[in-house]
């Protein structure tokens, strides 16, 4: 499953780095910015990762620097 999470815009860089480090220890190899080219603070705070570990979502939710975490939603045609 793909997870999207957003850091609080007020979260300092060291707190964000701690989350990345934690994820690496849990075996998540790639965490990517969802909007890599943006200069906007809110959008630059959104990241995504692929995982099969169901415990990751509640763990990320507990992180103080994280505003929200959610699974990627499905959208389909409406005809």
């Amino acid at each position: 499953v793909k997870l999207l999470f957003k850091f609080k815009e007020s979260a300092p860089a060291r707190d964000r780095e701690r989350v990345f480090s934690h994820l690496r220890k849990l075996g998540v190899s790639a965490v990517e910015p969802l909007f890599p080219d943006t200069e906007d603070d809110a959008l630059a705070s959104v990241f995504m990762l692929d995982t099969e570990d169901e415990s990751l979502l509640p763990r990320l939710k507990r992180e103080r620097a994280v505003e929200y975490v959610e699974p990627e939603v499905r959208r389909r045609l409406v005809s």
């Binding site: 909007f35 990627e72 939603v73 959208r75 045609l77 409406v78 005809s79």
Partner: protein
Amino acid sequence: MARSDVPTFEAPPSEPEDAPGQLIVRVHPEAIHEHLPSPAIALTREDAQLLPEAVAKPFEYLRESAGLGHVEPLFSPRRHEVASATRFLAERDRLAVLTSVADSPSEELEGFSVISLPESQRTPDLVKRIRSSRAVQLVEPMPARWLLAKQADPLRNLQWGMRAIKWFDKTLPDASGVAVGVLDTGIDEKHPDLAGVVATYDTGPYGKEDLVGHGTHVAGTIAAAPNNDAGVAGVARCRLAVWKIFPDTPAPDRQFYVDGVTYLRALQALEGSGVKVANLSIGGRANSLTEELLFRRLSDAGITVVAAMGNEFLRGNPASYPAAYTSVFSVGSIAETLERSAFSNTGQHIDLVAPGSNILSTLPRRRSDYRDESRYASWSGTSMATPHAAGAAALLVARRPSWTSDQVKERLRTSAARIRAMGSNEWTREYGAGLLDVRKAVL
């Protein structure tokens, strides 16, 4: 056929008064009556000599001095036989004038001929000279006439939805300066009804072809070129910025789902793209904070996002996102009966309804593994209702370029027509504020 080869039925640019090189001449019938044999003349060389010299003279003058081409009796059923009666031109002229009287179906039409001559010779002096002959009653140029047909869209009569939203009732603003974003399965940008409409086309990691056809159908309802002798008309003469957000192959359940990352990045790209309206004929049950964040930003940026209510009314009528986000304008579907389409979701977040059952629009020219139809077909869904509202929003933006997206949305709601199925209510969960009314919206 190249567009330049397509005949036009509209007035020629210069609107000439006369047909070039032709004159209508009427001789005095009584000058001929007494020379006609009974019961009728045969078309022989001998008969040609029956025409009095005074009547023949102006025609001889035309042949000798003005390059007369031919003389044709205007109302004689034998006019084609006259043309081949004799190889001598002067005799043909005489027979033509004789039959213009002898064969006429009524007295009032006796003596009329059409003569052709080089346009350069058809001078006012020449006309004056012929008119001065005692044998000639009338000389005048052949008036130029042309078809008064306007170019149209051959299938437009089948677009019941356009009638329902009163699209035909008013001359609508030109929205060519307005770009509408379409996030969908792609587009056939070379479709004859969409040629020149597509301003940008971002295919993401996928091929250019719209294999599903959904995006091309939606695009046609918004912006198919009107009055171009092809297919259908779209709601707005606007431009489209298209993002392909669906993969080219379906999921294992045979459904097409958006590529989430491509989709969210397309939403982000909308902001600052110059697009003023965006059409999202997609849906899903779960809400997303990231998606909602992006829609809120689009609304703040003045972009009116229009989305489909969803087609699951008979499967629990769940709220469908993005339509259910506060910042998104939500469109349900009605059928030809002007009642809710059986599939159309209802809910507190519905803004209005638009035609969504059996909507004729464009499809890609080539068939694909996922679609048997091509070029044009009628499809149903709130997906088909939504682009009617997106097109209307584009017209409104063209008319009121300084309006915010909230103002655009409010106008679409307040101008909607209350329909019978709503009873005396101004708003219902089934129909929102009523049926989209383009005529009233752009007043």
